[in-house]
């Protein structure tokens, strides 16, 4: 009887070791749930069709990018609208290294992360003096400047045409050139990013990030080196975003400036807002929501006869409405909605 309760609920589960107390998934139910998710993700990769897998890949890549952005915006409270540019830095670095220098993908991917981390660190320096709205504008400047370089630094970036003919990643005889093969690569990347982020916020640095977000003056009073950790947050976030950019480059096999403009930054901000600021899982929900919303809309628009609406305009409008709607109705995003649902069933059938 008591073990049946412990299986389902947090109360009644008594941790006897520090390891058990620190576990990311402290209850057996949570562990079972994550096992089901992993199994479902693997089964999806094995069974789904090409179209579904290509959507899943887009969602997965966006999820990694959104996680990176969430580290900065959701956990450290430094608002950045340079996400598109940072994705671009990662994508261009990886594309340049693999096409022009012939470096294998497995080296180019971390290199893309490191280069983006360096660029992010540099553009994070203004955060020493700038806060809130003024910092938003400084990151907007970063976006504009980096975008300008993408278009005008032709020998490196290929100008407005971009770089094409990017090779698909290969591991020995295994080439990730189909949506299905790439899906498992994306899945691994998402898993790595999720694990990394979930653990980051249990570490000293992660706690410092959260302290800075909640009240930076107070954080510095209790001994957090605010500037150092702000730059660290910019670099960690940019590293993940850069890796996402590289993943995108090797998935699309082409990079061009219009894939990394301000609209992309805003799209990613929409993901972290709708998913849930300052939650790891929210980044995934938000990425899925933003990527699936236009597809769902297009499907609906196709199936309703006699609709003469411009679908692209409809998608745009829906994106705007979704952002406004979530902010007004559920500012803490899908992650909060999901937690509420879980909380309801955690006590069920009892009142409390």
């Amino acid at each position: 009887m008591s073990s049946a309760i412990a299986w389902r609920r947090e109360c009644g589960t008594f941790h006897t070791t520090y390891a058990a107390d620190m576990a990311l998934r402290p209850t057996p139910l949570a562990r079972a749930r994550i096992a089901i998710v992993i199994f479902a993700a693997l089964a999806f990769g094995a069974l789904a069709g090409r179209y579904e897998l290509s959507i899943a890949n887009q969602v997965g890549i966006a999820a990694v990018g959104a996680l990176g952005l969430n580290v900065l915006v959701g956990f450290t409270g430094q608002i950045s609208v340079a996400q598109g540019a940072f994705l671009g830095v990662g994508a261009y670095t990886s594309a340049y290294l693999t096409t022009r220098i012939g470096v294998p993908f497995w080296v180019a991917l971390p290199a893309a992360g490191l280069v983006t981390a360096a660029v992010g660190g540099i553009f994070g320096i203004p955060s020493l003096r700038l806060k809130g709205l003024y910092l938003v504008i400084a990151t907007l400047a970063a976006q504009v400047v980096i975008e300008w370089f993408m278009i005008h630094l032709v020998p490196v970036t290929g100008g407005s045409q971009g770089i094409f003919g990017i090779p698909a990643p290969a591991l020995g005889p295994l080439v990730f050139d189909t949506e299905r093969a790439y899906y498992f690569l994306t899945l691994a990347a998402v898993a790595l990013a999720v694990l990394g982020c979930a653990n980051l916020f249990r570490s000293r640095a992660g706690r410092a990030f959260i302290a800075i977000r909640d009240q930076d003056v107070a954080a510095s009073v209790v001994g957090v080196d605010v500037f150092r950790y702000k730059i660290t947050a910019f670099m960690v976030s940019s590293f993940i975003v850069g890796a996402a950019g590289a993943l995108q480059a090797h998935h699309d096999l082409i990079v061009s400036p219009e894939n990394f403009n301000l609209a992309v930054s805003i799209e990613y901000l929409g993901m972290v807002i709708i998913g849930g600021l300052g939650t790891v899982s929210g980044s995934l929900y938000g990425a899925a929501f933003i990527r699936l919303l236009p597809i769902a809309l297009a499907t609906v628009a196709r199936s309703v006869p006699g609709i003469a609406l411009n679908v692209n305009v409809l998608k745009e409008a829906a994106f705007g409405v979704a952002i406004i709607g979530f902010l007004i109705l559920e500012p803490r995003g899908i992650a909060k909605v999901w937690r509420d649902i879980k909380d309801y069933f955690r006590l069920w059938p009892f009142k409390y």
């Binding site: 003024y134 278009i151 032709v154 807002i273 411009n310 745009e316 406004i324 902010l327 500012p331």
Partner: protein, 298 residues
């Protein structure tokens, strides 16, 4: 005058003239920020909507210009009130990121409304301002630039004075300074919020009409809202005089950098230069040239 000097003066005049319109858009940012602490990133789209509504009334329905102008203003008032009521009021007290994102959401929504109604193609705006250009010595100045500069500066001056001397202006300043204190002094904070949004909508509609008559009506007008951001920030987000000064500074900077740096650097410098300048200014003066420094308490 040497040709070199003529070129510099010509660029300067062009920069100052376009800077006037930037100042007008920046005024919208500043008014809202001052009274409500919101950075309204939908400013460009409000401008776009104003330009298109007036275009529709003049060119498509065929109303005379003054009537169309008045209807556009009435529309702006309704727009301002609606935005404040529906989107901003529920977010009072939420973190900055939420408020910024809601204005971004608004921007996307307004833009898609414009595209949905008018499409994306470029349209020639009916002549509202005189098209000729005046000759001052060897320099030629387009009259529509002069007019728009004059109108913009008159509006900036008007609002600076209104902020300083009228009852509503003083109430807005009080709200900006301390909302709770203002509330306890019997100031209607909601009314102040609504008023500042209405004024911002009106100002951006006028800016939209001026810009549309200079450049024609197109979706790209909205990006000018983005351009006015460095203007507002360089001057300091809470300074009306700063908006005017920032407008002229950024306008001149743009034309000068376009005139001198575009060829050696390969084009597009015009759009980047204000932002680079902006970051440099911010690193030295984090609250802009004329902005008020905030003292933080834990």
């Amino acid at each position: 005058m040497s040709p070199e000097l003529t070129l510099v003066l010509q660029l300067l005049i062009g920069g100052v003239a376009i800077g006037g319109v930037y100042a007008l858009i920046a005024l919208g940012f500043v008014l809202i920020y001052k009274a409500t602490d919101v950075l309204n990133l939908a400013q460009g789209e409000m401008l776009l909507l104003g330009a298109y509504v007036s275009y529709g009334l003049i060119a498509q329905i065929g109303l005379p210009v003054p009537v169309a102008f008045l209807i556009t203003l009435a529309f702006s008032i309704v727009l301002g009130i609606t935005i404040e009521r529906v989107a901003l009021r529920p977010l009072i007290g939420e973190p900055a990121i939420s408020v910024i994102m809601v204005t971004i959401g608004l921007a996307i929504l307004l833009r898609s409304i414009v595209i949905g109604i008018w499409g994306t193609e470029y349209r020639v705006y009916p002549d509202v301002l005189p098209k000729e250009s005046a000759q001052i010595g060897p320099l030629s100045v387009s009259l529509e630039f002069l007019w728009s500069f004059g109108i913009a500066m008159a509006l900036v001056a008007l609002f600076a004075l209104a902020f300083r001397y009228t009852r509503v202006g003083i109430a807005m300043r009080a709200v900006a300074d301390d909302q709770q204190a203002a509330l306890s002094m019997g100031i209607n904070v909601r009314f102040v919020f609504a008023t500042s949004w209405v004024i911002a909508a009106i100002v951006s509609s006028i800016g939209g009409i001026l810009l549309a008559s200079i450049q024609g009506t197109g979706i790209l007008l909205a990006t000018l809202g983005l351009k006015a951001l460095p203007v507002a920030i360089v001057g300091g987000l809470d300074s009306i005089i700063g908006a005017a000064a920032g407008g002229v500074i950024v306008g001149v900077l743009e034309t000068l950098s376009a005139g001198y740096l575009d060829v050696p650097l390969g084009g597009g410098v015009r759009d980047v230069a204000p932002f680079v300048f902006l970051v440099l200014i911010l690193l030295v003066k984090p609250y802009g040239l004329f902005g008020k420094e905030r003292i933080e308490r834990v």
